[in-house]
């Protein structure tokens, strides 16, 4: 870039323990954005290599380590892909347990993002710690609700941080019917807290910002899809998950090592709570659907800032799913199903809190992994996040450093990006190059 053309560079760096893992680069010339690049460190490549040569039964545990916030999602997508290879179907109470486990993770993950990170954007706080002082009641209620999500994960998954009870074909051990029923009062209490959280969030002012997004989510015949479904989009995609690569393609970002995804011959797409709500609102549980009616914005919601409200509705939904399981569950005869191993390729795709998480594995006749592919939701959203930032950037160019950083962060935070392996707190700084025009 020629300096004499009046180039100004804004750089938002994520200075993680390893520098340069991710950054937002905005390059502007005479007040116009000419280049914009968002890079977030993507650990799955490492895990794909790490998985090759391992036994297929290890995949759920190894991939769960990619993310300390959504290990259940990784375990579920990995199990599903392996079960797809083996021709094994997990149904009845074992499937119900998976739904309950996943509900716990949604609650925990969504509530944290809503209350600790996203809410301050709407309430005008630079720091979430600062907000915690003024909104003590909401923060404490959120922590109780998050705790409930943690406890659900511990109950079914055996451990809350990295659940250990999950295996291909089911679980290592399962709860008894009476243990399950005992959850009812806590979940009913949790549902009250979730409604309070939703009403708090509904009172926020959402900035005017709409885009013509292509929303992508799983679609299930009866349920608000979490564990399985067909891949559908708001612009006509409707395929089996096996066809993931037929509709989406990875492409190399110029001047970077990063790989982004796009819909073939179309472009960016959005996965996550907003996509799910827009595509599957008719499958929400009764109370969640009732609350949705209270929101004075007609669907589809094309404003990414409203993702916070979609998350709040999904927390209510997740609690109702857990309640349904608690009321109907009967102890299964065996904690898992097992069939002889066979060679093949299988696909798994489930709705992680941040959107669809796709896994594909090839194993040989001894069950050894020959090939692995993992596509997390954040990787899929990156292209769309950049598109949003393109819209944001012109306003940001004229603003002081603090304000510019804050706005760029907000546009990114709408997506609740997963940066699990960027191990350190972000130290964001904006760098202005002097305008030499």
């Amino acid at each position: 870039m020629n300096r004499s053309e009046g180039t100004r560079v804004i750089k938002v760096d994520y200075l993680a323990r390893v520098e340069g893992e991710g950054a937002l680069y905005i390059r502007a010339r005479r007040g116009r954005v000419v280049d914009l690049r968002l890079e977030i460190f993507e650990p799955p490549r490492f895990f794909e290599a790490f998985l090759r040569g391992r036994h297929y039964t290890e995949a759920p545990d190894i991939t769960a380590r990619i993310c300390g916030i959504c290990p259940v999602a990784y375990q579920m997508s990995a199990c599903q892909a392996m079960e797809n290879i083996l021709g094994l179907s997990v149904t009845g109470p074992l499937r119900d347990l998976r739904r309950m486990l996943y509900a716990g993770e949604w609650i925990e993950s969504h509530v944290l993002h809503i209350a600790m990170l996203h809410a301050p954007d709407f309430l005008g706080y630079q720091s979430a710690l600062e907000m915690a002082g003024d909104y003590r009641e909401q923060v404490e209620l959120s922590l109780r609700l998050k705790r409930l999500g943690n406890d659900l994960v511990t109950f079914v998954g055996g451990r809350e941080i990295h659940p250990i009870n999950v295996r291909v074909g089911g679980f290592y051990s399962v709860p008894r019917t009476e243990e399950m029923r005992a959850w009812k009062p806590r979940l009913e209490q949790g549902l009250e807290w979730a409604v309070a959280l939703f009403r708090w969030v509904m009172g926020f002012d959402f900035p005017d910002f709409e885009q013509d997004y292509e929303f992508v989510a799983l679609r299930h015949a009866e349920e608000y899809a979490i564990l399985e479904g067909r891949l559908v989009s708001s612009k006509g995609i409707d395929v089996a998950i096996e066809d993931f690569d037929q509709v989406f393609e990875e492409y190399q970002v110029p001047h970077s090592n990063a790989l982004h995804l796009r819909v073939r011959e179309r472009g960016a797409y959005m996965v996550g709570p907003l996509a799910r709500l827009n595509l599957n609102h008719d499958r929400l549980t009764p109370l969640a659907r009732e609350l949705l009616q209270e929101v004075p914005h007609p669907l589809p919601w094309r404003n990414p800032f409203m993702s916070i409200l979609a998350r709040a509705i999904e927390v209510v939904h997740a609690l109702e799913v857990a309640l349904e399981v608690v009321e109907t569950y009967e102890t299964p005869e065996a904690p898992y199903r097992e069939v002889p191993v066979r060679a093949g390729t299988g696909h798994g795709c489930t709705e992680a809190p941040r959107g669809i998480l796709y896994h594909r594995y090839t194993i040989d006749g001894k069950g050894i992994i020959q090939d692995a592919r993992i596509v997390p939701p954040t990787t899929q959203n990156l292209h769309q996040m950049e598109q949003d930032l393109w819209q944001f950037a012109p306003q940001v160019l004229q603003l002081p450093k603090d304000r510019a950083t804050w706005l760029c962060e907000q546009a990114i935070r709408n997506y609740d990006p997963c940066i699990s392996c960027a191990t350190h707190f972000l130290k964001i700084h904006v760098e202005h190059e002097p305008d030499t025009a």
Partner: protein
Amino acid sequence: MNPTRHEANPAPGEPPAPKVLVLGLGNRMRRDDGLGLLALRRLRERHAWPEAVTFVEGGTGGLALLHLLEGKSHLLVLDAIQAPHPPGTLVQATIQDLEPIQERPLSVHQLTGEDLLRWAQALDLLPRNHLLLGLVPASVEMGEGLSPPVAASLENLVTAATRILERWLAVPPKPA
């Protein structure tokens, strides 16, 4: 359901029994970042610790770990700590030693031992007796296994952690 323990009330005049949380943080798929988890494991296995001590592999659980502090009288966090010292140097800090920060993470995934102390303080969850204890990392690239300087110092960390727990519990633990 989670098992609940019935605990005896302390006799009148006796101080309440300590409830200690030892939390290991980090990602063991990122070389030295996992040192807190390895130290936690060594520490836990070395002695027959009383029930008053809870060991948790917090990993990369981020803000999801905050509730673990509820009801605890003592907190020991083991983590990799960035500091201007050579790799493997033993570093410790309390909340008073930490600089105030203004930045906010983009994701709830991001939480270091420092952040945990700050959040815990803001939410009145931070025990008065707390310590962040760790080593300066040399490499946090993707991969398994500690770097040589950190591997050589891990025992220092485990020894220091043992001393702190002994002091907090006021009785030396029995060997495992």
